[in-house]
């Protein structure tokens, strides 16, 4: 009897430890592969990619164009199916998921920030945020989030009445308001000028640190990597190196 109790307690303990590990390693990619088949011509876009991303970290995926960034982004965002290997997000395997399951994953687990903002032109800033809030479970108050990103005065403006930086803020607010685990950003500063780009980066960085949310930025801009906790360098469909930075630079320090 005693034996059983000890064993039971022990197993709980092990489970707790395991959970702790998984909580800290939110994303685990093992031998991740993606091949495209167009009319019988096979193109390998990603080959045997291994990496982990810790929960609450600020990660930059860096690489030149054609390296496989977009493919990786698509896989992480649940926008495309995985050909081979494993990609676990919060202990859920994405490989082999059906269309509908992937949609659910995007709906509840990922917030997406686009390079070109992709706001609905006929919806106001507030309504654009409501658009994503409508379909999520633990969504935040859209008005408050817009206030947080500094758009309190602009909530009733349409995208065409906003500057590029403001539009990107709305886009970020839309992603944040979902209160998802991961914030996935595709070249978030790509269409913006230097100063505005920096302020957007700061917004994303502060959000990650303040709310302990995982932010992943996919970019070709090497300057951004200095502020990241972790930098994944990719080239030719594979990972060249993974850098961990214990003391990342502040945004004010970086330049491009």
């Amino acid at each position: 009897m005693f034996f059983y109790i000890v064993n039971y307690l022990f197993s709980i303990n092990i489970n707790l430890i395991e959970k702790e590990i998984f909580m800290s390693e939110l994303i685990v990619a093992k031998k991740l592969c993606k091949t495209y088949d167009t009319n019988g011509v096979k193109t390998i876009a990603l080959k045997d990619v291994n990496f982990t991303i810790k929960a609450g970290s600020f990660t930059v995926i860096l690489g030149p164009s054609g390296a496989g960034k977009t493919t990786l982004l698509n896989l992480l965002g649940g926008m495309d199916t995985i050909s081979e290997g494993s990609l676990k997000v919060h202990n859920t395997e994405l490989c082999g998921m059906k269309r509908k399951e992937l949609t659910k994953y995007r709906r509840f687990d990922v917030g997406f920030v686009f390079q070109f903002y992709n706001l609905m032109p006929n919806l106001t800033a507030l309504e654009n945020v409501e658009l994503s809030v409508e379909v999520s479970k633990n969504a935040l108050n859209p008005k408050k989030v817009l206030e947080q990103v500094g758009l309190k005065e602009r909530i009733n403006n349409f995208p065409s009445q906003l500057s590029g930086g403001e539009q990107q803020r709305v886009s970020i607010a839309r992603a944040i308001a979902k209160n998802a685990r991961i914030l996935l950003c595709d070249e978030p500063t790509g269409a913006l000028d230097y100063e505005t780009g920096k302020s957007i980066l700061k917004l994303l960085y502060d959000y990650s640190k303040e709310y302990k949310k995982t932010v992943i930025i996919v970019t070709h801009n090497a300057a951004i990597k200095d502020i990241a906790d972790q930098v994944i360098h990719i080239k030719n469909g594979g990972i060249i190196s993974i850098e961990y930075q214990d003391k990342p630079k502040s945004i004010e320090e970086i330049e491009w």
Partner: protein
């Protein structure tokens, strides 16, 4: 230059769906117009061929005196300058044993109004007769029968029935009315034809009728509008030849007095009224959709146009590319439409006339594409003009601004938002739908007008179908024209629905094409398929509904207009369920189109959302 021509085909290839949609809409429109426009000519031309080949008389002189016409009268007609061929005969309508009977003693070798032998033989012996196939009691008379014909209480002859014939003048299904006094509008039970060459009754029977084929109308179609004018001009002259032909002594009959001719022209006139009103709607809708397709195509190709300008291509060279796109599609659509319309539709409807008429042995090969040609030219001009207009607008801007992305039309507040009582209670997705609907007023009008036009046609088609069940009274004779008119109504409904479908397909398809980015974004945001479909189709369905709601009363108005011109039928004859049916059918087709296009939405790649705005 070679590369330049290549780009024309590339434009067609990349916009294949638009190209095909444009062709098919024009094809369906022109096909319908050509087809319905060709129905009456097909029928009348066939009857004309039949009447011409049998030398049906243009004028029949009927003496009102007991002695009939004299030899001198006949000689006068023979010498009349407009007489091509003529014949004289005896004809008497009387009631024998309560049956309306006509006896004719005619020259069967004259070549005028030639009888067609259906069965048996033509007369061989003195009192052999052939009987008219198309008479009431035909079923009771058989070859070999002997019929005692009483002229009066003292005189009767035994007529031997040897054959059955068809008189080219009698082709209305229920035969020919008697002209016996006091028996108005009673049809003949039987008609006997004696051959005057054999019967040797000339000395005994007077010449009552002279049949004349005129020279002046020899080349003119019996159903042409100027035909009766020509005949009446000759009649005026005949009246003056001698006193026996003057008004009191002689009746001069023309085709206007022929019952079969009267019934046929009455019906073809009615069809022509329908045919001249309905295509206007069709063509307006087709033209509108074609215009939109072209103007959107040019808008989408702004970048390409800018590229050409910066490469130094001249305006006319750039024009040529897009004008050839619209020309090619309009020409292919028009020719295809005229071809299918001219051959298929009239051939489908033609047999329906067999329920009311004894159709000519041979259907005419001639086709009539006048109406189709007019509408094709109208569409052609409209489409080319819009292409040039839209291009001019783009070509005026500098290449630099063309290469830039045209800013999407900004969103704005709509009127409904000023009514917080309604607006604040609307669900978010309906707010977005409402705003989208009113965002592009031009587009909204396009959809509403097109759908209204098609559903009006559907309504009118159903209404027409209902009234065709009514009896039509022509010259005191009651006829049932449902068998002839209802196929026309069905074809109108069919084409209206087809048009409705194509219009919506085209407009929705363009809408999806333009909003690929929005759709992809929604997918990335984790919207389920059903939610995305709702986002796109909700507004299209709402706009179409507006169109139907306007279209049904429009159709009723159209019907009323048609009825007043037809001089037949009325709204009271339209069944209550036809209104529902018109609504239901139009709506069903809209849903079907949406269902078909969900595939297209499903196929949109989420990567569209990552692309730069081209």
């Amino acid at each position: 230059m070679k590369t330049y021509f290549k780009t024309i085909f590339r434009t067609i290839k990349t916009n294949a769906l638009k190209f095909i949609a444009l062709i098919s809409i024009i094809l369906v429109g022109v096909c319908f117009v050509t087809g319905v426009g060709g129905i009456s000519p097909k029928v009348t031309d066939s009857f004309n061929d039949e009447l011409k080949s049998h030398n049906a008389p243009d004028v029949i002189l009927k003496s009102t005196s007991e002695n009939g016409f004299s030899n001198e009268d006949i000689e006068n007609i023979k010498n009349f300058s407009d007489t091509r061929i003529y014949t004289s005969c005896f004809s008497l309508d009387s009631t024998i044993d309560d049956k309306q009977t006509r006896l004719m003693n005619i020259d069967m070798e004259s070549g005028v109004n030639k009888l067609t032998l259906i069965s048996g033989t033509l007369p061989i012996n003195k009192y052999d007769v052939v009987v008219e196939e198309n008479s009431k009691d035909m079923d009771d008379i058989s070859i070999g029968e002997v019929f005692a014909y009483k002229f009066n209480d003292y005189l009767s002859i035994d007529l031997n029935v040897v054959g059955i014939v068809k008189n080219p003048l009698i082709y209305s299904m229920d035969g020919e009315p008697t002209i016996e006094e006091g028996k108005d509008n009673t049809n003949l039970n039987r008609i006997f034809y004696l051959d005057s060459n054999l019967s040797e009754l000339d000395s005994f029977l007077p010449i009552t009728d002279i049949y004349v084929c005129l020279k002046s109308t020899n080349k003119i179609n019996y159903f042409a509008s100027k035909y009766l004018d020509k005949v009446n001009a000759s009649v005026k002259i005949i009246r003056k030849i001698n006193t026996n032909f003057a008004a009191g002594n002689c009746a001069i009959l023309t085709m206007e007095d022929n019952k079969s001719y009267l019934v046929l022209t009455n019906i073809t006139d009615k069809i022509d009224v329908i045919v001249n009103i309905f295509p206007i709607f069709f063509i307006v809708v087709v033209a509108l959709v074609s215009l939109t397709t072209m103007s959107r195509l040019i808008n989408e190709e702004r970048g390409v146009i800018g590229c050409y300008i910066s490469l130094g291509y001249s305006r006319s060279q750039i024009m040529f590319k897009y004008v050839s796109f619209s020309m090619l599609s309009t020409i292919i659509g028009s020719i295809g439409g005229m071809f299918t319309g001219a051959y298929i539709l009239p051939n489908i409807i033609y047999p329906a006339f067999g329920n009311m008429f004894i159709l000519p042995s041979k259907m005419t090969n001639s086709i009539n594409i006048n109406l189709g040609l007019i509408s094709a030219v109208a569409i052609f001009i409209a489409v080319i003009l819009v292409t040039v207009y839209e291009l001019n607008k783009e070509l005026k801007s500098t290449p630099a601004s063309l290469l830039q992305v045209k800013a999407p039309k900004p969103g704005r507040k709509i009127l409904l938002e000023r009514m917080p009582l309604i607006w604040n209670h609307l669900k978010f997705k309906y707010k977005s739908t409402c705003r989208n609907i009113f965002r592009y007023v031009g587009r909204l009008l396009m959809v509403v007008i097109s759908v209204a036009g098609s559903s009006a046609l559907v309504m009118a088609g159903f209404g027409l179908y209902d009234v065709s069940k009514k009896d039509l009274v022509i010259g005191g004779i009651t006829m049932n024209i449902s068998s002839t008119l209802s196929p026309v109504a069905i074809i109108i409904v069919f084409f209206a629905l087809l048009l409705c479908m194509l219009v919506l397909f085209n407009l929705t398809n363009m809408n999806i094409q333009e909003r690929k980015r929005e759709i992809a974004t929604l997918e990335v945001l984790g919207y389920y398929n059903g939610e995305v479909y709702g986002y796109i189709f909700r507004e299209i369905i709402l706009m179409s509904l507006m169109g139907i709601i306007i279209g049904i009363p429009l159709g009723v108005g159209l019907l009323e207009f048609v009825f007043s011109y037809l001089d037949f039928g009325g709204l009271a004859d339209v069944e209550w369920y036809s209104y529902l049916l018109a609504f239901g059918c139009s709506f069903l087709f809209i849903l079907l189109i949406s269902l078909m296009l969900t595939k297209k939405i499903k196929a949109i790649d989420m990567n569209e959302s990552l692309k730069s705005i081209e």
